[in-house]
Amino acid sequence: MLPESENFCDGSLGRECLLWRRRPGFNVAATLGGLIPLAILMVSASAGQGAGSHGKVSYNRDVRPIFADNCYNCHGPDTAKRKAGLRLDERAGATSKLESGHFAIVPGDPAKSRLLHLTATEDSDDRMPPAKTGRRLNKTQIDTLTRWIQEGAEWEAHWAYVPPERPPVPAVKNEAWPRKQIDRFVLARLEQEKLPPSPEADRHTLARRLSFDLTGLPPTAEEVDRFLSDKSPEAYEKLLDKLLASEQFGERMAIQWLDLARFADSDGYHADIQRSMWQYRDYVIGAFNKNLPFDRFVVEQLAGDLLEKPTLEQRIATAFNRNGMSSTEGGADPDEYMNKYVTDRVNTFGTVFLGSTIQCAECHNHKYDPFTQREYYELYDFFNRVPEKGLDADPAPPFVKVPVGRQAAMLEKARHEASAKAAEHKTQIDLARPEWDQAQILWEERLRNAAAATEGFKLGEWSSVGPFEAGSGGEAFKTEFGPETDADASRTYADGKLKWKKQPKWKDGKPQELNGSNAATYLFRTITAESQKPLVLYLGSDDALRVWLNGKEVISKDINRGVAANQDTVEVTLEAGHNRLLLKVVNYGGAYAYYFSTDKEAGDEKIIKLRELAKISQEKRKPEQLAELKQAYREREIPEIKKLAEELAALRKQESDIDKSIATIRVMEDMPKPRESYIRVRGDYRTKGEVVSAGVPTSALPPMQAVGRTNRLALAEWLVQRNHPLTSRVAVNRFWALFFQRPIVNTANEFGTQGEPPSHPELLDYLAREFVDSGWNVKGFIKEVLMSATYRQSSKVRPDHITKDPENRLMARGARFRLPAEMVRDNALAISGLLVEKIGGPSVRPYQPPGLWEEKMFAGNKYELGSGDELYRRSLYTLWKRSILNPTMQTFDAPDRAICSVSRPTTCTPLQALVTMNDVTFVEAARVFAQRIFREGGSDTASRLKFALRAALGRPPGPHEEKILEGVLSDVRRSYAADETAAGDILKLGRASVSGQFDRGELAAWTGVANVILNLDETVTRE
């Protein structure tokens, strides 16, 4: 089959959108029944809420999943695909008379409900779903549907589309445990599952947990000590408050948001050119640090530019919608890419704020959720008003300049100086000086004469032949290859391999590159003169040059040089008619080029223009032409004005240099007259359907409350309307995952009907309501969560945890997980003392194995290692190149941010072990950590080990641990004593200085111990 159009995801092409079906044939529980206790599947699937045989059937819990999996494809919200006029996702559609005259569902009357008959029948011709789909309802499912119809067939809206209401706080048996309301929701569920909560974690674990969770860094030993010795009941809260108030809080929170905002330092597509967007990263850090209410955070990022008198910061915030990938690929269709940019904005909007798969409606109406394709393009229209080009690199309009430090003041000063000088200059130009005006007439005469010298003859097109290779430039210069004697265009040379070739693109008056090395190239052209006349040739060459006119040599210069204009000047006489000019340009290796002109000032476009002006007679000159000639004369010929003009040019250059040095950032702006937005039929950017205008999807979501505006600001305000069911839930769900590893809605990127239901629906609603009612107070929300008993639980794993709830969805224990990529590195830097805690600024280039960019990217893409502090900044400042991520980051599951990413997986691989074992970042950290141990850890092994573990883990070593480390130390010490070179080598790794005050063998041995400590599971784990 040869599609007429693109292979888009659409059934109407005859290719059914199979993706939308769950495939039959994989009854996992049955296949693996012997391997996995069924109980686990139950708990992890819907956290124990399966339909029981008693109690009322719930549409949302029990019925919708059956319909969604088996029926919605043909009987769902998508009108285009609907069969038999039956719609099962709404009561009205499901209970009305069918085309056949039957009723699919008659509430309360299973016998009359045709749906039950057709799903149960053994007749495969009649049965639903149709046999060709390969799916069939099982008996339990049919029983559930029967009971549901019997009980009155009540439809419920999908939970996520109903605004959250503050739920009643559930009663619990163990009144002693809860500290916060949150705990009652969690405990009620645990009591139901007969899974007791865990005790509070050790104090040093709590200190470390709080520190990682709130700052992304380990606590210092002093912080831990202070917390351990503070016996007051408020000790925990005090520590929490201190960490929440630290500047590192914003850096920690930014990691998650930057994944969502697909923030990166490069364009992403094709050549993956670097871009300046770091100011956005700093905005995010700052917003969290100053506890910008989350609703403001949303509004500023979506529509900061549309706020009244937006601040620079608010405009920077809108870079959220310019962080998407962009391309400069040659031959790409700008319209195609523009469409990609806008759809990326819509899809990101849907994922980040709505937790919805709105992107499914790019090509067709959503199969399961109430989003039509039209609604998709109505959202598209909000984001389709940016005055951007389809293909563009930095600075890609619209952008703003963001001065830092003294840049703004310097620019102001330079502007001022330039305009003062400009005023002075203008006075001199305007000055009435008749004697100058007289002299100007003569000057104009000279201009006309110079122009005449370039006239009266016609230059033919260049032809060339070559390169004629020789052993050396000198040999090539001497050797007569043929054209010297006869530059006949029909002749070929070197056994026919070299032929004369026309060069219509070669331009006089600028150096022209040639191909070849240690070779000669011949250039030929005719010069046709009206009559005999003198002519001056202005020549240049890289390297040697010989010239013949009409067969007679006029210059011969055997030289090794770089090309420039007017290196040689040759006066010749043209004969009337055709003259034959032959150049031989010889290369001595390296660059190869020539320069030719018949005008000394060929490169000076201004002069050429002035000559043209001078030719116009006085009375015919327009006022601006008169002014131009006058200014040019005075600037060129009157010394004091010439000086003034030069000074002005220098000042203007200074101003422009400062201006250029100020970093830009791409931002959002709406065009005064927006483009039209169309439905793109089947998602094909070239197939424009109906024109649509901005609007929000209202089939399931509330309409906009704002009146009179339909721009991004209205869209942003709609998101944070009090009755919006998604924004707050989606946000608190993600925050929750930072502290418990798993979100409450496990599919944090899909709150629609195909997502998983929340493990604790009431808790989610409680948190969402609290969050909004607190004024979207992020720090307040986090404090509430972190003060809870649920959060403070120990993360030790009990046997019943593994059997009853291996994923910890019920939260009967604290979360224990490997640190995210950034924190793995930051932790090592912090422990060693190398970490440089500077907030914000352009992205930096820490260690990276050499050659990675050079091997894969266009030539010229070189990774230039940073220096000094840049090597030790926190990892969120590491240059994020989308096509080749820093390998340390990538190995620890950091996403490339090509698209918005909601959650990172947490893997454990041998490649990660290799990074912390061998990456110079970590080996250098071990070496510097060893020095720190020597300086601060006392002088005997026991006190040093104690210091080292307290620095790395916040706790002293246990007796076994101490013994193991002592064993490592003495063995490794012996190795380095026997091999001093090795000791010297390991101390050379990285750029940090080596202290001369310690014994090198000892330092090397302790570097080994430090390497062990930095590689411990506990070190890279938040417990």
């Binding site: 199979l18 993706l19 997502g755 894969k856 997986p905 893997t907 041998p910 080996v923 480390l965 090397a1004």
Partner: protein, 485 residues
């Protein structure tokens, strides 16, 4: 150290078990599940004893191939100068292409320029019993033409490199989907206990089209399935070498310390993740010897090195072909080569000659080497790029010079080895080589066929992400029946 049966992705498997529990109830492909339970591909090797009954039902068909070597020719080789002979273009050289073909069609860099035919200046000859017409640029590949299946009717909907490669490798133009190798790694795991299932080798430098690491990314699959790059220059796997000053003996002693301390931790907190980490360190240690050994092609016999034209110590396509065989021998599932250097917009005659010289001989040498060792029987070999090149000229056309722009309507690839019919040619283009006129094959069809050969029904091998079941073949995929033996 006791090191029995700890595999490269055992580590991944353990950690993924969480994902697994999570997804099990939501229905992921069984093949994927089994790989999580056991590292070896079940049903593929006789050694997969005890559980093989269940495992066999887990693959949808009897697999023909155990592994894939995909020789990706990045930049888009000109099918019209290599495999798809069009005398009509030579006849019409310099004359306008018929407007009936080009009108309203998407065009890349030739936008707004005259569209004139350009014939290949290279000689095409019929080869072998199959009579495959292959140009003089590929004499060595021509010599194996009776063993390969050439598909001349590939088409795509991407006209630029980045989306083009992305589509061929991930089944979709947009970034974010897993690469074919990642799917296979996820589905079948590794056959080798010590190597990743998906290995990437790249060659070509300078101003050739860039290679973006997302081409071998894991998309929404667990990140452990992304391709692991093995480099024939520099460190063979990033960070695999001990830093200078840490000998293998010291490293072992340090790792013993790490292991012993982690064991204490495991006993203390009982988190199975710690056991996974302990395993991952042991695996890493073994990789420190097995990877450099694997990458050391200097140990190959001289006649083998010469046959490939390999140069130990350098980074080249020839070296990578030889490494591909070594990886295949060791049971790596998906060996993805990339060679940059086929984007011949202008100066095509000179440049394609050069690239062909670098690629032709090693490719054929690899094929013959696999065949001679019996590896070809269960190894699928694929050769091809991301799209084709135009029958229309681009750039300088004097003195026999010419160039070709991107073309998405038709291009050629070839497949060979496990389960592939020998000496056949599938599909045809019109006399100008502009449109496919017989047996059109889309990227998704090609991907479906690769899956099929590995024993997987592509429509049934899905992964749920954002509430949607994704698969490699997006919404398409028809088997290319004509290439199946």
């Amino acid at each position: 150290m006791n090191s029995h049966l700890i595999s490269f992705d055992a580590a991944c498997a353990r950690m993924t078990r969480r994902h697994f529990f999570n997804r099990a109830a939501r229905g992921i492909g069984v093949a994927a599940l089994t790989s999580l339970m056991r590292s070896s591909a079940i049903g593929l090797t006789p050694a997969a004893s005890a559980n093989s009954a269940r495992a066999l039902t887990s693959l949808h068909f009897e697999p023909k191939a155990k592994r894939v070597i995909y020789l990706f020719q990045s930049g888009a080789p000109s099918q019209l100068d290599l495999f798809d002979y069009k005398p009509k273009l030579t006849e019409m050289n310099g004359k306008p292409m018929p407007e009936s073909l080009t009108k309203g069609q998407r065009i890349a860099q030739l936008m707004g320029q005259p569209l004139n035919c350009v014939g290949s200046k290279f000689k095409f000859t019929k080869h072998g019993g199959s009579g495959a017409e292959i140009s003089e640029l590929l004499p060595n590949i021509a010599s194996i033409s009776d063993d390969i299946a050439i598909i001349k009717s590939m088409h795509t909907e991407a006209i630029n490199h980045d989306p083009g490669v992305t589509l061929m490798q991930t089944g979709h133009q947009q970034a974010g989907r897993p690469a074919m190798g990642a799917w296979i790694s996820y589905g079948l795991g590794s056959e080798n206990e010590q190597l990743p299932a998906f290995v990437v080798l790249a060659s070509g430098f300078g101003n050739d089209q860039p290679l973006l690491s997302r081409y071998w990314g894991s998309g929404f699959l667990p990140t452990g399935h992304q391709g692991v790059e093995f480099r024939s220059g520099g460190e063979p796997v990033l960070f695999v070498n001990n830093p200078s000053g840490i000998s293998s003996k010291v490293r072992r002693r340090l790792l013993d310390g790490v292991r012993d301390l982690n064991q204490i931790k495991l006993g203390d907190v009982g988190d199975p993740e710690i056991a996974t980490r302990i395993e991952s360190y042991e695996m890493a240690y073994r990789m420190q010897t097995s990877v450099p050994e694997l990458m050391d092609i200097a140990k190959e016999p001289k006649q083998i090195i010469d046959a490939y034209g390999a140069e130990p110590g350098k980074s080249s396509y020839a070296n990578n072909c030889l490494l591909a065989r070594r990886l295949a021998e060791r049971g790596v599932r998906f060996i993805q080569l990339y060679h940059r250097g086929w984007d011949h917009h202008n100066n095509l005659p000179a440049d394609i000659t050069n690239t062909s010289r670098l690629v032709d001989r090693p490719t054929a040498a690899l094929f013959k080497d696999l065949k001679q060792r019996g590896l070809l029987e269960d190894t699928l070999v694929i050769w091809g790029g991301e799209f084709g090149r135009t029958p229309m000229n681009q750039g300088d056309s004097t003195n026999g010079n010419y160039g070709r722009d991107h073309h998405m309507k038709a291009f050629s690839i070839w497949m060979a080895g496990a389960g592939i019919k020998k000496g056949v040619s599938i599909g045809a283009t019109d006399e100008f080589g502009y449109n496919v006129v017989e047996d059109p094959i889309h990227a998704n069809d090609f991907q479906a066929t690769v899956m099929h050969l590995l024993g997987i029904r592509h429509t049934d091998f899905t992964y749920r992400f954002q509430g949607r079941d994704y698969r490699l073949t997006d919404i398409g995929g028809e088997l290319i029946k004509g290439v199946l033996a």
